[in-house]
Symmetry: C2
Subunit: 362 residues, 2 copies
């Protein structure tokens, strides 16, 4: 697939319901922070030094492709429109902070879209690898392969005592941030999320809503990540997170069962109404659509609803994001009303099976 | 059709969207109050006298059938279950006050369901005739034919100066109450209903919501009737009402056009959402369903929605009434929750085209 198709496609091979514990886990993600030796961190580097970091990254990419067994698309962030940048961020293939200052920033995105390497974000290199379901080992291995290719050819900033050196001290050591994306409507509706957040913090994990403003989360999707990067091996960090995620998943499943027992009829009604609104509304708000998608997805998992697939609802999550819609309309100045109408149109189209999309995986 | 099918059927030949001005008018109805001479009004009659009124009515019915050109089903109200009585009232084939004291009350219902004669309601005879659309002449003629058959054989209470004598003085004279049932979402949404009600009162007409408690109307369906029965001919009463209705219809159409101009997108969204909820909800409240039906019906008239017919929405009005649903379930003790679920199930069934019904017209 040409990289340009990425901005119009709403499918992502690593995001969905197919993996391990796919009823709760949308995706697993690993990020390694690395910096080139003898070069200031990007936030302290001048243009020449940023260009030098880009050159070093470019010099190892054929080796990375070899090690990864697939081609990567090289994307110059400043060559994209603002809409295209935002779409990549909405799809979590690049970070918000990478696109804030587009000059001298680039990203390498693997053909299967499961790996992306950001150049000159907070660190010279941010290696991201993703997998569907609860699976941090596969992406960790994939990220390590990229890292190996880099370190085979180039010196990276590493201290015997501290480990990998990073721009922000919170990433020091392994430079690893592992994340599991969980859909937790059961815990939210049974008012157990605060418990989960408190316990997770005690386990050195952070839990935050993927969507929503401030502490207001919408769509019941949460990112659970390790907070500590220093003093543990990568394997230990991942084990710890996997164990915590497994417990959260168990709790979520229990909460869903409880809901299905105690509030079956109300829940079923709410789920089907959500489906009806998604299927027919002519205008859908950004937060509203996430809440509706969450309810319908829960309904699919509980077996209350059979009219669509969980996959469709993973697609809807991306297809209903504002920048995706602006880009689809080819108009960055779309009003809120126009975006909401476009969103409803795209949602209807996806639910009716008609696709405005290209296949994602090669 | 057997009379017993009436309780399960939700179609009524005289109610819908097919007649004159069917975009606004659901039905036209005429009622004549008549009393037998030399017999106390029902509220002052003893059992023997009530039975006598029933006998007199029975004695003229073959002549009525001859004049009307069709057979009538004779229904003894006290032989029905409470649910069946309520269903007949919901369908406006009998009145609430007829079924309040079932003993010695009966109804004759024509095969085409466009005419019903109530015995021992407030008056000995209440002759009802209905037509779809804006058409009071056809039902007036039909009611007169029944009245002619009665007066051909029996003496009725009539005073040269006062006209027909009736139990309640508000019906004195012609004994005529003519009613037009109007769907007025445009006037409601543009907040013009109070105007219409005030002007109508000045014209000697009453306007009241067909559904809803007290002054709270739901579903935007209004019954416009003459208040004066004395001092005018039947034809003059009907002309006056037809003229007023025509003006209300014009206003309603203008209001709809204005809405479609000024709030097209919001309205369209609200209409399609209503359709989605009707189509998929698992529980629907009594008031809610009327509001949803009203919106969808408006959407059909404005051409915003094509997925169903206006006929379907006339059917839904009857099929979503509580007693109809109880009777369908064969259980008078259905809880509110159970009724709401049954209502949603029946609505879904009708909208998906599957019918639990028998054809109504012969």
């Amino acid at each position: 697939m040409a990289v340009s198709d990425l901005y119009r496609d709403y499918r992502l091979s690593w995001f969905g319901s197919e993996g391990e514990a796919g009823d709760v886990v949308l995706a697993s993600r690993v990020r390694l922070a690395r910096n080139f030796a003898r070069l200031p961190f990007p936030n302290r580097a001048d243009h020449q030094q940023l260009a030098e970091a880009q050159n070093r990254a470019a010099s190892v990419f054929s080796r990375i492709e070899e090690m990864a067994g697939q081609a990567f698309d090289a994307v110059q962030i400043d060559a994209l429109t603002q809409m295209e940048r935002e779409v990549l961020a909405e799809k979590q293939l690049v970070s918000r902070s990478l696109i804030q200052n587009p000059a001298y920033r680039s990203a390498y995105i693997s053909s299967d879209r499961k790996c992306s390497v950001l150049v000159n974000e907070d660190d010279h290199l941010r290696i991201h690898a993703m997998a569907s379901g609860l699976d941090l080992r596969t992406p960790l291995e994939a990220a390590f392969r990229v890292d190996d290719a880099v370190e085979e050819k180039l010196d990276v900033a590493f201290d015997e005592k501290m480990g990998y050196l990073t721009s922000c001290p919170t990433n020091l050591g392994t430079g690893l941030r592992a994340t599991v994306l969980l859909h937790l409507p059961g815990l939210v509706y049974t008012r157990n999320m605060n418990n989960i957040i408190n316990i997770s913090q005690q386990l050195g994990l952070s839990v935050r809503g993927l969507y929503g403003e401030g502490s207001e989360t919408v769509g019941n999707i949460f990112a659970v990540s390790n907070q500590l990067t220093l003093g543990f091996t990568e394997q230990a960090i991942i084990e710890n997170l996997m164990n915590a995620a497994t417990q959260i998943i168990d709790n979520e499943r229990r909460a869903r069962k409880a809901l299905a027992m105690t509030s079956k009829e109300r829940l079923e009604d709410a789920i089907w109404r959500s489906y009806g609104v998604l299927k027919y509304a002519r205008s859908l708000g950004e937060s509203e659509v996430l809440e509706l998608i969450s309810k319908v997805r829960l309904g699919l998992d509980l077996g209350f609803l059979h009219e669509a697939t969980a996959e469709r609802f993973s697609e809807l999550l991306f297809a209903s994001r504002p920048s995706y819609l602006k880009n689809l309309a080819g108009n960055d100045n779309l009003s809120q009303t126009e975006i909401d109408r476009k969103r409803a149109a795209v949602v209807r189209q996806i639910l009716s099976g008609g696709a405005q999309t290209q296949e994602n995986s090669p």
